[in-house]
């Protein structure tokens, strides 16, 4: 029972608590810490890349190592940094925003996290066992199927395991949002962050299975001698490209949509105005998700699909600019007529608009199929996607973290340091990536270990590297801010921004482990704002004070994932020595055994009694 454990204290107890927790708020912490660490690792890899490209003919990294570096940078950033950081936000915020006490499947929630973490660890172990994957984050066959060593095997197993975790997380949030909303919270009253998590989860549900299959085929080819990508036996290497991008394009919207949602909550809060065009925003979100599935082949314009397919995918891709534009203008008009307060969270949010717009526009330029014959696989593309990913996703994560930090940790991040971190990162970001568009057009392909002297590319690359260092400085200041704030330890109010509009701001920061003493009654969009405008202090409860049902913690998610981790090694090394099959059996045994225990052991949870709650209210839980 988590209350009992929490009272025991001591490091061991705290660790055990986190290993077994099924509380979405603690799982959010876990996601944040591990995603954050992976971001630092990915960032470090980016710095090494930039140092190698600082000058022509540089020899800082060797050719093979460089390829490992870009592959791990891309893979780590997308799968192990951006996704988990987004999951951290989803876990921290969605149940609170919809007035729920927990997610629909607390156990699966924890399982999803541990699968992700063990998958990520497996991937990174490859650095120490003779070489990381080196075929690019896109892992195109047959470069990947013929890549020597075990690097690509780690890619396959690592992503398979962490991908399973993501899929589980996606289903969990879908059901949570459909089934667990507080009374009165109709779909069209859901905060936009919740809405975009809903759409994102749908994308995860439909996109990840394609990756799963692709990874299986890759695994079979590399480990069990099948011939999917072996042209000698009739295989076809383009199958991988399609499967990867059927997953891969929706993936980029999986990354950006939750942050669009976060921005849609931040703009109103700091403009003191309701979101402009709420229903259009919802519609645009759904439309982006929908169109996201019809455009994947824009990554394959030069593969040789022919002009008809190229044209169809070009036009479909361009169409996405329309709903995205609707969003941009709605955000601008949310600020229009408002009272804009430039907190750090708002600073990142405001900086996102021009940055992402540039990225989106270069995206539309890329979508012009014929012109992509020049852009494709050059630094123009690198410029495009860092503009949308760093200028959209990374800015968004920074903004959202500043915004929800008090809700997650009960402390407001220091504003001065927040702004101090922003400026070097922002300037460095534009320095690094703006120039890359031109480098690409001037003839610099991406994934180039060296560029040669005399091609007019030296100045641009140097500027780009300098920018990357500025970004690193910004990141470090942000880290300092976290430590500084934690050490200072000032408690935050329930509604530290004073203009909170949604339900999460109606309960203490951080919330008690059961979130809401009484489920709130929602009377419209921005429920807390409505109550405040009517002069009330907080939400009206929808139910009388009563016992609360809570799920039990469990170590099984951890052991299941550990089993997969062990089995992963077995699969990778059984190619060299069949004795490693033992690891497969042991690992799968642990996993299936845990599943078996889970299915035969009744787990009905426990109840928090009314008396306990009343005591908590006296201490201020009800507010």
């Amino acid at each position: 029972m988590s209350t009992a454990v929490a009272q025991k204290r001591g490091l061991g107890a705290a660790i055990w608590d986190y290993l077994t927790t099924v509380d979405h708020k603690k799982i959010a912490h876990l996601y944040l810490v591990s995603g954050g660490l992976f971001f630092l690792i990915g960032g470090l890899e980016a710095m090494l890349i930039r140092i190698q490209l600082m000058k022509p003919d540089n020899n800082f990294l060797s050719a093979g190592l460089y390829n490992e570096m870009i592959t791990m940078h891309g893979t780590t950033m997308i799968f192990l940094a951006a996704m988990p950081l987004i999951f951290a936000l989803m876990n921290a915020v969605v149940p609170l925003q919809i007035g729920a006490r927990d997610v629909a499947f607390p156990f699966l929630n924890s399982l999803g996290f541990w699968l992700f973490l063990f998958g990520g660890l497996l991937l990174n172990v490859s650095w120490f066992t003779g070489g990381a994957p080196d075929a690019g984050w896109t892992n195109y066959a047959p470069l990947s199927t013929t890549s020597p060593g075990h690097g690509v095997d780690y890619y396959v197993m690592g992503l398979q395991i962490s991908g399973a975790g993501t899929l589980i997380g996606g289903i969990n949030f879908l059901v949570t949002i459909v089934n667990m909303r507080a009374p009165g919270m109709s779909y069209m009253r859901m905060p936009l962050f919740t809405w975009s998590v809903f759409v994102t989860s749908t994308l995860i549900l439909f996109a990840f299975p394609a990756l799963t299959v692709g990874l299986f085929l890759m695994m079979f080819d590399r480990m069990f001698g099948s011939a999917f990508f072996d042209v000698g036996l009739g295989g076809n290497v383009i199958i991988w490209e399609h499967l990867f991008w059927i997953f891969g394009h929706p993936e980029v919207y999986i990354l950006i949509l939750p942050l669009f949602g976060a921005f849609s909550d931040i703009f109103p809060t700091f403009s003191k105005k309701r979101l402009f065009g709420y229903s259009a925003m919802v519609f645009a979100t759904v439309l982006i998700g929908f169109l996201g599935f019809m455009v994947w082949a824009h990554h394959m314009f030069t593969v040789g699909m022919g002009p008809i397919a190229n044209s169809i995918f070009a036009v479909a891709t361009m169409a996405i600019a329309v709903p995205t534009g609707i969003k941009i203008f709605n955000w601008l008009f949310t600020m229009w007529g408002g009272q804009i307060r430039m907190t750090s969270a708002m600073l990142w949010t405001v900086a996102f608009i021009p940055s992402f717009t540039i990225g989106g526009m270069t995206g539309v330029m890329l979508a012009a199929a014929a012109a992509d014959f020049q852009y494709h696989d050059t630094y123009f593309v690198v410029g495009h996607f860092h503009y949308v990913i760093v200028g959209g996703v990374a800015f968004g994560i920074f903004a959202a973290l500043h915004y929800w930090w008090p809700k997650m940790f009960g402390q407001v991040l220091n504003e001065k340091l927040g702004k101090l971190a922003f400026w070097p990162f922002f300037i460095g970001f534009h320095l690094t990536f703006f120039i890359q568009h031109f480098l690409g057009l001037m003839g610099m392909p991406r994934r180039y270990w060296v560029f040669l002297e005399g091609q007019g590319l030296a100045t641009g690359n140097l500027i780009s590297t300098i920018g990357a260092f500025l970004m690193a400085i910004g990141t470090v200041i942000f880290l300092i801010n976290i430590v500084y704030t934690a050490v200072k330890g000032e408690k935050a109010d329930a509604d530290p921004w004073e203009n909170g509009r949604t339900l999460e701001w109606s309960i203490p920061s951080p919330p008690p482990y059961y979130n809401f003493v009484q489920t709130p009654l929602v009377r419209g969009l921005d429920p807390l704002w409505i109550e405040k405008m009517e002069g009330k202090k907080g939400m009206t409860p929808a139910e009388p004070l009563g016992d609360i049902h809570m799920p039990n913690g469990s170590i099984l998610p951890f052991t299941m994932s550990l089993g997969m981790f062990i089995a992963g090694f077995g699969f990778i090394y059984q190619v060299d020595d069949k004795a490693w099959l033992a690891a497969v059996f042991i690992g799968m045994g642990i996993t299936l055994g845990s599943m078996f225990i889970r299915s035969v052991k009744d787990d009905l949870g426990y109840h928090i009694h009314k008396e306990e709650l009343e005591a908590d209210i006296k201490k201020g839980a009800g507010k």
């Binding site: 003191k272 593969v303 070009a314 036009v315 203008f329 012009a368 020049q374 001037m442 003839g443 590319l457």
Partner: protein
């Protein structure tokens, strides 16, 4: 807030400045300095799209700047509650419809250009020049279909004429990119052949890259396209057809080199003819612009390459140390005197100033 915008503006100025400083890249490499039909068409398309983007960006930034300056909370307004506008149908229609129109304006030339560049029907014409391109880790093989000519790394084409390329790969996926003449196209392993065409306007030596990650030496898989006048091209074809692979070189050292070459290297390489060996065809090697696509054609570099190719192009297939350094030097003498055609040696090369 003003300071904020100021910094933003200077940032863009800085960007623009660096752009001017670096020009638009070097001649014969940059996609921004087209020297052929495809590249020109694509630059036009890019300019249309950039114009649209700048138009949109200016509008977005104008609203943005106005909003941020005008509606920033001032001192003493902390308790003011602005009007909670729900939306505005008319405005929303405007910013839905205008982008649609702009995108249609972009879509039409896009589709046109896409079909234009994919139109390789001209290669059915009897006189059309068709070349098979095969990507290998990490070199390019060119086979002139129907003529017993094969070259590697350097592709000769006539100016003012469409030359059709039929492309595939012998190992992993590569991509043939010639920025200043045409776009790029992947070379895939397997049965399927991709086609594209080159049409160079002027004589010149054009720089090409492999654009699809293909292994450790991906960034060193460069090639050249040498465009010469049609007459000279015919001359070149003539020269190449009459290569005598067994011709005895003049110097003694080169003669020994030939012997060594035949004994050690011929299992992979070839001279003359169209045989595509495991390694590049070395016909006309003495006139090559670069060794291995990247090094200046000095004897020293060549000896380095022959003895230790793996240090220069990591991961490539040529074995190291099959011959000693002295032997390599003789082979280098032999190879460097392989000048089968003078065509193209006088073509203006790329502009190398930074």
């Amino acid at each position: 807030m003003r300071g904020w915008m100021g910094k933003f503006r200077s940032l863009f100025l800085f960007g623009a400045l660096t752009l001017i400083l670096s020009g638009c890249g070097v001649d014969n490499l940059s996609a921004l300095k087209p020297k052929g039909y495809g590249a020109e068409l694509l630059l036009d398309l890019m300019i249309i799209s950039i114009a649209i983007m700048i138009f949109v960006f200016v509008i977005v930034m104008a609203i943005y700047a106005f909003v941020l300056i005008r509606y920033k909370q001032k001192k003493g307004q902390e308790n003011l509650i602005p009007k909670q506008t729900e939306g505005n149908k008319a405005l929303e229609v405007i910013w839905t419809v205008i982008p649609i129109i702009l995108l249609l304006v972009l879509a039409v030339p896009t589709v046109q250009a896409t079909f234009d560049l994919a139109d390789t029907s001209g290669q059915d014409d009897e006189n059309a020049i068709t070349i098979d391109v095969i990507g290998n880790q990490y070199w390019w093989h060119f086979n002139y279909a129907g003529q017993e000519i094969a070259t590697s790394q350097e592709l000769y084409i006539p100016t003012g004429e469409r030359v059709y390329l039929n492309m595939k790969s012998s190992d992993v996926i590569h991509s043939f990119w010639l920025p200043s003449i045409a776009g790029k196209m992947d070379t895939n392993p397997g049965e399927n052949i991709n086609s594209m065409y080159l049409e160079a306007y002027e004589e010149g030596v054009y720089w090409g890259h492999c654009a699809e990650l293909c292994g450790p030496s991906h960034s060193l898989m460069d090639f050249r396209v040498i465009a010469v006048s049609p007459d000279e091209f015919d001359q070149w074809v003539e020269d190449m057809k009459n290569v005598d692979p067994e011709a005895t070189p003049e110097t003694a050292s080169a003669q020994e080199g030939q012997e060594l070459f035949n004994n050690n290297c011929m299992s992979c390489h070839a001279i003359g003819g169209s045989s595509a060996g495991v390694g590049p065809n070395l016909t006309n090697f003495g006139n090559r612009e670069k060794i291995a696509g990247i090094m200046d054609p000095s004897k020293e570099n060549l000896v380095d390459w022959i003895t230790n190719p793996d240090e220069i192009k990591p991961g490539n297939q040529m074995p190291a140390n099959i011959v000693s350094k002295e032997e390599a030097s003789k082979i280098a003498d032999y190879l460097l005197q392989l000048k089968h055609s003078d065509v193209g040696t006088d073509v203006p090369t790329r502009n190398t100033d930074e």
